[in-house]
Symmetry: C2
Subunit: 250 residues, 2 copies
């Protein structure tokens, strides 16, 4: 068995997230079924290889650079695997690269960092062509206030208040070493880099920063929200459609 590393791009709009679920379209499910067909073209009921993603994106979240690993036994070259997948995958999922990885490479366990971008828009005229990849704001926001609030979140913290899974038993300490917020022609971009993120964490951080930006809470309140270690202390979960996984570090 060889171990392959895949770089994957997808428009998550139509999917119930990365992770496979019975009877629901998911990114992992679509790719696994194409790989199964590639490996066992003549078998009606074929084994399905286990595609391990760097993380599990939520329903509706997009990716430019999701990384996955999969062990397979095939004579096809990396480019042939990529081309086969792209021929049979729907046009909202693309395998950008396939490469051989060491036997011990594991897309989830070996990931040491991830970059996410959240795109929002405020203005009188909503963009037409990017409409599926942005979240529309009803009110304008103060970028400088959000930047001050974000500074409290940077570093190593217990992010339990920003975890969407209230029954999560493991450590909720994570390192977020970069939160950049900038405005460009009505778009407001949040770029976050960290060693790992809890469920919904980026969207809850953005939802909370937007409360600050709208003046509904103060930048300093974010300190208390962190310390509360309670999901109810933080702001709402920002809509999935604005979120994009840009890249994964190994």
């Amino acid at each position: 068995m060889k171990n392959y590393k895949l770089k994957i791009e997808y428009d998550g709009s139509r999917y119930f997230g990365w992770e496979h679920q019975p009877d629901k379209p998911t990114i992992q499910g679509k790719i696994e079924s194409v790989l199964s067909r590639m490996l066992y073209p003549d078998q009606e009921i074929a084994p399905v290889p286990d595609l391990i993603g760097a993380g599990r994106t939520d329903a509706g979240v997009h990716a430019r650079g999701m990384i996955a690993s999969v062990k397979m036994d095939t004579d096809l070259s990396c480019d042939q695997i990529r081309d086969y997948c792209n021929r049979y995958l729907p046009d909202d999922i693309a395998i950008r690269e396939v490469s051989l990885a060491s036997d011990r490479f594991h897309a989830r366990y070996n990931a040491v960092g991830k970059t996410y971008r959240y795109s929002a828009f405020y203005g009188p005229v909503h963009p037409v062509f990017n409409r599926k990849y942005i979240s529309i704001l009803e009110n304008d926001v103060d970028i400088e206030k959000m930047q001050r609030a974000a500074a409290f979140l940077q570093g190593s913290h217990d992010f339990r208040s920003f975890c969407g899974n209230s029954r999560f038993k493991k450590s909720t300490v994570r390192v977020v070493d970069r939160i950049e917020i900038r405005r460009s022609k009505g778009y407001i971009y949040f770029t976050l880099h960290g060693t790992g993120f809890l469920q919904n964490m980026v969207r809850i951080i953005v939802g909370t920063l937007l409360l600050v930006g709208q003046g509904r809470i103060e930048p300093e309140d974010v300190k208390n929200i962190l310390e509360a270690r309670d999901r109810k202390a933080a702001g709402p979960t920002a809509p999935a459609k604005g979120l994009m996984l840009l890249s994964v570090d190994y």
Copy 2:
């Protein structure tokens, strides 16, 4: 009655083109029905204002800067008209600007130039996020050859060979003063500027240039195609989804 000028952006994917047709969704039809509702909010069967577009884009063609004019009697400000329309239009159509025009302004008759861009893509991995706005090429193309062919089309010519309407009775002489072709990361962009374009003309020019780019005809053959004054002499009509009306000059 005041005369208004509208700047309109739309994703044409879901529409049967600009011009209204009974029982089919069109851009003109959608905007006219919203304007009618704005002008006569309480009438079940209300008059529909006549929205005059600078041109009629085909089914599936997109626009960033379509211009239209419409005569209306309303106390609303230009921004209020824009905001009303955007609130009730579907999210794949947006009114970017509304301004007051002189009584004699006519979006079609007064248009003196138009800029179109056609976007194609060739490469092993198709883009996911732009997939509705590009045409995928099965074979690579020679940009330099297409540029040489395009030079024969620039200027004032009888473009009958590039007219999709075989029963068109009026003059088919048009001036195309710019055809730029460039490649960027797998994308191939054709930018055309002219005083006016016949039905399907940009798409037939692109379809013919792509034949040259694929080596199936020579750049010099385009001279003969022009001289034939026969639609059958030219190449195929390139798919609508790659075409975008960028702007209209007055």
